[in-house]
């Protein structure tokens, strides 16, 4: 048992080492961890209560007391951004999980089985992707109603086609490789081949796609929030904060710049993290 554990430790150790070895990936990790930290302990570290309005402190520009200024109701922007990290993160992570799980399953099935199953799944995916993503998410929220949970489902389903397409395409190339034949030769059944041979070989594209989709989901959530169908007050995501700030762009630009900047940094970090993960998980790339 001991050498089995050492075995596993070693491969994980290698991945982490490779990941940290790249500066861009390291930046991605740091920002992502910071985000997770803010999401978990946000209510303990905010300098002010993010939800309590204060009539005397409306529209204050950034200063020593309010680092990022205050909004139209006198609430501290820094506290609100920290507080908003939680809902933003949850929405994007869960939406991506939904899209990733459904999309990958459909992609694997349609690519590997081919024939009628492939045709049905591909047509279904095409039917979904006919709609622009935002419009599709709007349709779902119209059906399911407005709310944080439904936004996650809407964004999640809207991102399924991207995953299905890319996984199907990769599966099609992987299943023609000779090692799939060798897997059959030793007597593995279809499910085992899909799970142990095909999936791990399409892993890298799934991870990159997930990091892109997570970034995209944050933007979509912001866009939907901006249209007012997203996260509802008093909960505040970065997107909904951006929307409120937009009305005061001339007088109080910090109200949109701060959440906007948070979105940009997070999206960038997620993309870099995805790139880093792809390289780190590829056994063919050596750690230097």
């Amino acid at each position: 048992m001991a050498d089995k554990a050492a075995w596993k430790d070693r491969s994980w150790y290698k991945v982490v080492k490779k990941l940290i070895g790249r500066k861009t990936a390291l930046f991605g990790i740091v920002v992502f961890l910071l985000l997770v930290f803010m999401a978990l302990f946000g209510n303990h570290i905010t300098p002010y209560d993010p939800a309590t309005p204060s009539a005397s402190e409306m529209f204050q520009p950034p200063s020593a007391t309010h680092l990022f200024g205050t909004d139209s109701m006198g609430r501290d922007m820094l506290s609100r951004v920290i507080d908003g990290a939680k809902i933003t993160l949850i929405v994007s992570v869960i939406a991506v999980l939904i899209a990733m799980v459904i999309g990958t399953l459909l992609g694997l099935l349609s690519g590997y089985m081919g024939g009628v199953i492939d045709i049905i799944i591909t047509r279904l995916i095409e039917a979904i992707s006919v709609f622009p993503m935002i419009l599709f998410a709007l349709i779902i929220t119209t059906i399911l109603g407005v709310g944080t949970q439904n936004i996650m489902i809407a964004i999640g389903v809207a991102y399924v086609p991207a995953f299905t397409r890319i996984v199907r395409a990769m599966t099609l190339t992987v299943k023609e490789r000779e090692y799939i034949d060798s897997a059959k030769v030793i007597g593995l059944n279809r499910a085992e081949i899909l799970w142990r041979y095909v999936l791990p070989n399409v892993y890298s594209v799934i991870i990159v796609q997930a990091s892109l989709a997570a970034a995209g989901a944050i933007l979509s959530e912001a866009a939907l929030g901006f249209m007012g169908v997203g996260v509802q007050p008093p909960e505040a995501s970065w997107g909904s904060m951006l929307k409120v700030g937009y009305n005061y762009l001339n007088n109080a630009p910090w109200m949109s710049i701060v959440p906007g900047f948070a979105i940009v940094i997070t999206v960038l970090a997620l993309n870099l993290l995805g790139d880093g993960l792809r390289d780190a998980l590829d056994v063919r790339v050596r750690a230097d």
Partner: protein, 349 residues
């Protein structure tokens, strides 16, 4: 030629040991079609042959002659979406028709009873699994043993394939190994469950001659020790001369001739076999041009209705162009599909 006769002799000796009533796999009238441009086209036509226990049998043919499809048919590896077995049986051990096994039965048959190694050892190993895991997986699939035992057994098998320091190499990924080492890993995977038949689909084509010789030696050694049969698929006549006791010559999806290695090399009967053997350059011959068979392999849509070789055959006559010759038994272990040869032999009798 002297070397050839020595090789022929050892194979001849081995032949004596093969019991002819001990058939391991019997392929009967196998006809397989592939979908090409929406229509099914026959790629192997009425192929019948037997693989005896403990023998090394070679299938020789040009590219596209159907030798790989034949081999893959025995493993049922031809893609179901584009290929179809139109007719025939593949009987394993005298009882079970492989073509009628369920997918689940097929899984316990592959690897366990029959295994296969491929031409390109890089692409036939999973790039993201360590070699040890790949060998171990094959073992654990068919035998109920723990992961640790499987690992020890994997090292053991790798050792037998002549891998240097197998306990280190077992944790290597395929890209960290050389071509010869990868092929050793492939062989280790194929042998891990002690199959009765090993199908080797051009196992040495991608390797350089030194490694080629080592791998061939390895397979031959293991075959003798493990008492298994080997089916060689190759286009290298030198390899079959050295490795196989019997040879099947294929052309355009049909069997032209089946003969003992020695007989084939000393007295080829079919004009195609004669052409192939004449095409081997000889060391002590001073010639400007090498001998070749005139013409090219017909496109699969233009396969003649009569003998498939009639368009290139120097001896072709009208009956060759009209009716396809049947593979006819003319000796104890010798079969040939040629009107002229059969006619000649009958006349001589």
């Amino acid at each position: 030629m002297r070397l050839m006769s020595v090789c022929g002799l050892t194979n001849q000796l081995k032949l004596v040991m093969i019991k002819m009533n001990n058939i391991l796999v019997s392929v009967k009238n196998l006809t397989t079609a592939f979908k090409m441009g929406g229509r099914y086209t026959t790629v192997i036509d009425d192929v019948s042959f037997d693989i005896y226990k403990n023998e090394a049998l070679g299938i020789v043919g040009e590219s596209g002659s159907g030798k790989s499809v034949t081999a893959k048919s025995i493993m049922r590896l031809n893609p179901v979406t584009v290929s179809k077995v139109l007719n025939g049986k593949i009987v394993y051990d005298g009882t079970q028709d492989v073509l009628e096994l369920s997918e689940k039965e097929m899984c316990s048959y592959r690897g366990n009873k029959i295994s296969m190694i491929f031409q390109e050892p890089m692409s036939s190993l999973n790039p993201i699994m360590t070699c040890g895991n790949q060998i171990g997986e094959a073992i654990m699939l068919h035998q109920k043993i723990s992961k640790k035992e499987a690992r020890e057994k994997s090292i053991d098998i790798l050792q037998k394939t002549g891998m240097p320091s197998p306990e280190k190499r077992i944790d290597s990924y395929p890209h960290e190994l050389s071509g010869g080492m990868r092929q050793r890993v492939m062989i280790a995977i194929a042998l891990s469950c002690g199959p009765h038949l090993l199908i080797a689909d051009e196992p040495t084509t991608a390797l350089d001659p030194t490694i080629q010789a080592q791998i061939l030696d390895l397979i031959r050694g293991i075959q003798t020790k493990a008492n298994m049969s080997v089916l060689y698929i190759t286009h290298d006549l030198g390899v079959v001369a050295e490795m196989c006791q019997r040879i099947i010559i294929m052309y355009c999806g049909c069997i032209m001739e089946i003969a003992d290695t020695y007989d084939l090399f000393t007295d080829p009967l079919h004009p195609y076999s004669q052409g192939l053997l004449n095409a081997i350059p000889k060391m002590n011959e001073d010639k400007e041009w090498l001998h070749n068979i005139k013409g090219t392999v017909p496109h699969f849509t233009e396969i003649p209705q009569g003998c498939v070789f009639c368009t290139r055959c120097p001896e072709a006559c009208d009956s060759c162009r009209d009716t396809r010759p049947k593979l006819t038994k003319i000796g104890e272990r010798r079969e040939v599909a040629c009107h002229r040869v059969i006619h000649r032999l009958r006349r001589d009798q």
